[in-house]
């Protein structure tokens, strides 16, 4: 085995091996567990089964029931148990089975996980990672497709991370586990089967830093700010927009808290226009924060208002209608088109009686 491995090392640049995002996360968990005996994984069905998305596949078998185990079926219990385990010196990485099934733990997350360091003046910190498969696009039924990131991002004391690439899913999770503070790690379900190489990050000595957005594509006319499952939509829209002659820059935020104001604002200062793309219902979501911030900080660079393309303000719809709810390339292109390239205010969707303006 060792010899074989060495032989591989010697071979000059083999084609990069592709792994799925769920595989990359599995690998990150394993590597973190190997690096630090205090890292433990638990939750519902994460042991023998390997999780409903197989993200923890084989970990219980390979690391033993002490390091990766099933708990009773109670999310507040799981999070509260993690708080206690962290107080005893562990670094728990816990799984909430689906987005909406983290809600029973909301009190534990908002009132304890987020606040323990602050409450104890730094004497008790909670290095807990709460993994939440989130968002839709996989034909899931109700309660299995919520985009819940804004609830956490709005809660001071939580870091909120959402990878958009396979590489980032590995790198950001390693960083999350190393982080001394609680991290809500939101995994876009529909990307679990997406493929990429993690070889360069495996070799890296440092993981992706929190609070550093990535410019996924450079452009000069308009900036698309996106995160998690929406980055792919933004990139596709950018490609399509190119055909219409627009040069589109795509910023992937990677971490919502901390937020990389700098990269985002620098991009908009350059392009002068901005559309935020998020899958979550738009009202009072993270996209609102981004829009508010961009206009606060780059006001004089803006040629048009910052627009948002978001999920509709409705409960997640049944599978046969989800495509109408989810931001897609068309909707992003339409927003780009509305960026007042001709300097007119868009009133098309305003209620007819308000088109006149004032009340």
């Amino acid at each position: 085995m060792t010899t074989a491995a060495r032989a591989e090392d010697i071979c000059a640049s083999p084609p990069p091996q592709l792994v799925t995002m769920s595989g990359a996360i599995n690998r990150a968990l394993r590597d973190a567990m190997t690096a630090d005996p205090d890292v433990v994984v638990f939750g519902e069905d994460v042991g023998t089964l390997g999780g409903v998305f197989r993200v923890t596949d084989g970990i219980s078998r390979d690391f033993g029931q002490d390091r990766c185990f099933d708990t009773p079926l109670a999310e507040a219990g799981i999070v509260g148990f993690a708080v206690g385990m962290a107080m005893a010196g562990f670094r728990p990485v816990i799984e909430m089975q689906f987005d909406a099934f983290a809600y029973p733990a909301f009190e534990q997350i908002a009132s304890h996980v987020a606040k323990m360091r602050n409450r104890t003046a730094g004497r008790i910190n909670l290095p807990i990672v709460i993994r939440i498969p989130f968002a839709g696009g996989i034909g899931g039924v109700e309660h299995h497709c919520d985009s819940s990131e804004a609830y956490y991002a709005h809660t001071p004391g939580l870091k909120v991370v959402t990878p958009a690439t396979v590489e980032d899913s590995y790198s950001l999770l390693r960083e999350a586990i190393n982080d001394p503070d609680p991290v809500v790690f939101m995994e876009p379900k529909r990307l679990y089967w997406s493929k990429g190489s993690i070889e360069s990050v495996l070799a890296a000595t440092k993981f992706a830093s929190f609070g550093r957005a990535a410019v996924r594509r450079e452009g000069t006319d308009v900036t698309l700010v996106a995160y998690g499952p929406s980055v792919e939509v933004a990139l596709q829209a950018a490609l399509a927009a190119e055909e219409s002659g627009w040069s589109v820059e795509v910023v992937d935020l990677r971490t919502l808290v901390p937020l990389d104001d700098e990269t985002m604002v620098a991009s908009v200062r350059k392009t002068g226009r901005c559309v935020v793309v998020q899958e979550a219902q738009g009202f009072a979501g993270v996209g609102a924060e981004i829009a508010a911030r961009v206009q606060e900080r780059a006001f004089h660079s803006l040629h048009a208002p910052v627009l948002r393309v978001a999920g509709l303000d409705i409960p997640y719809p049944p599978p046969k209608l989800e495509h109408l709810h989810l931001p897609d390339v068309e909707r992003v292109l339409d927003a780009i088109a509305r960026l007042q390239w001709d300097d007119d205010t868009d009133t098309r969707f305003l209620p007819s009686d308000s088109k006149g303006g004032a009340t």
Binding site: E44, D45, G47, T48, L49, G50, V52, D70, P72, L73, A74, E75, A76, G77, A100, F101, Y103, P104, G139, G140, V141, E142, H143, H144, F283, L312, D313, I314, P315, P317, P318, P319, K320, L321, L324, H325, E330, R331, D334, R348, F349, L350, P351
Partner: protein, 390 residues
């Protein structure tokens, strides 16, 4: 059956010292405790076991024959739905094969005016209640969050967030009682669901408000992959009732006669104003959690084989044949009815129902907000543009 809860009410107006506990000797506690072994009427082969609990009258022949028929049709439906899921006609289906005695018994014990508060797994129960199977399958079909009319069918939407609808059942039953209506609510939960905080809160609210609710725990031994031994180390889930002052029982959940006997009495108990009842039914999920699940990852086939020998259907069939209540002709007839039922489901599920896109906005609120009207206008414009470009 446990004695009525008079003792519990004794404790409600004590105010001093240890008076509250003065009434709490073991004999009272025993009044709330389940039998030490699950109530059973028929053994695995369908032989009548020695009656050891006179408290439960044997269900009527009529009810037993109806149960047999409903179990056969229920199972046929379940198998059909599983097949549709395998074919991709349904996104997902959580089967309940093996749990027929619980699924059917729970519904036959109710009056038409009673309400059921089922989970995602209780589809056979809903078929037994008379709901349209195609409406039941609307959720896994992806066309609706709840395909049937809960008010018309007196059946709450099949609930996904575990144990959460138990509290609804309690509030509902308590509300019905406050309105002077004799409604009973049958609330379903799995072994895994009993671990959730909502289970606890529901039981306590029910006890304190003496709500006419029957909590039926279908202990099918697994919560997805997690076996009951990792879910609880209590002597039995039925032993949870005493902690709330709730009369409790445990029953062989693959013995339809026993399930009916216990639930008939539990429903009567609740209806008579004596408060809630907790029943744990010991049963088994023969199939995987859903078609998306791979049960071989966490259990071996020997275990499943073992439970196949306790199949509730042949068990009741043997007894009914022995008593001369059914014969070959009847069995064949029911099998035929099952096939017809399945064929109807197959046929009607083959049609792709159109779902109105604008329905997305219809029921967020009674009247859409201005924000929703704008989004509606946007979608309408998009769809028109799409239509135009075709």
């Amino acid at each position: 059956m446990p004695t009525p809860l008079e003792a519990a009410s004794l404790t409600t107006d004590t105010s001093t010292a240890l008076a509250q506990t003065a009434s709490t000797d073991r004999s009272f506690a025993r009044g709330l405790m389940p039998a030490s072994m699950p109530v059973q009427f028929l053994d695995d082969l369908g032989h009548r076991v020695q009656v050891f609990n006179d408290d439960y009258p044997e269900p009527s022949s009529q009810q037993l024959v109806a149960a047999y028929r409903a179990m056969v049709i229920g199972r046929r439906f379940d198998i059909q739905a599983t097949a549709l899921a395998k074919q991709g006609r349904l996104a997902v289906y959580p089967p309940s094969r093996g749990q027929e005695a619980c699924q059917i018994g729970s519904m036959l014990a109710l009056s038409p005016d009673d309400w059921a508060f089922p989970t995602y797994r209780d589809s056979m129960a809903l078929v037994t209640r008379g709901l349209d199977p195609v409406e039941i399958l609307a959720v896994p079909h992806g066309t609706a969050h709840c395909g049937y009319d809960p008010r018309a069918s007196r059946t709450a939407p099949q609930c996904t967030p575990l144990a959460t609808q138990l509290v609804h059942a309690v509030g509902f039953a308590s509300g019905e009682k406050r309105k002077g209506r004799p409604t009973v609510a049958m609330a379903f939960v799995g072994d895994g669901g009993t671990s959730e905080g909502d289970f606890h809160e529901a039981l306590n609210f029910a006890a304190v408000f003496k709500a006419p609710v029957v909590f039926l725990v279908q202990n099918n031994k697994y919560a997805i992959s997690v076996p009951i031994s990792r879910q609880s180390v209590a002597p039995s889930l039925g032993y949870k009732g005493i902690g709330y002052g709730i009369a409790s029982e445990q029953v062989d959940g693959n013995d339809a006669m026993a399930v009916l006997a216990v639930l008939n009495k539990a429903v009567a108990h609740a209806r008579s104003g004596q408060g809630p009842v907790l029943v744990e039914a010991h049963t088994y999920r023969l199939d995987a959690h859903t078609n998306a699940d791979d049960a071989t990852r966490y259990r071996d086939s020997a275990e499943v084989e073992d439970w196949l020998r306790r199949d509730p259907i042949p068990r009741l069939e043997a007894w009914l044949r022995h008593k001369g209540l059914i014969d070959d002709a009847f069995v064949a007839l029911v099998a035929h009815q099952g096939e017809a039922f399945a064929a109807d489901v197959r046929e009607r599920m083959a049609i792709n129902l159109a779902v109105d896109p604008m329905s997305l906005f219809d029921n967020v609120f009674a009247t859409p907000t201005p924000q929703l009207l704008e989004q509606r206008a946007m979608l309408e414009a998009e769809l028109e543009a799409e239509e135009a470009s075709r």
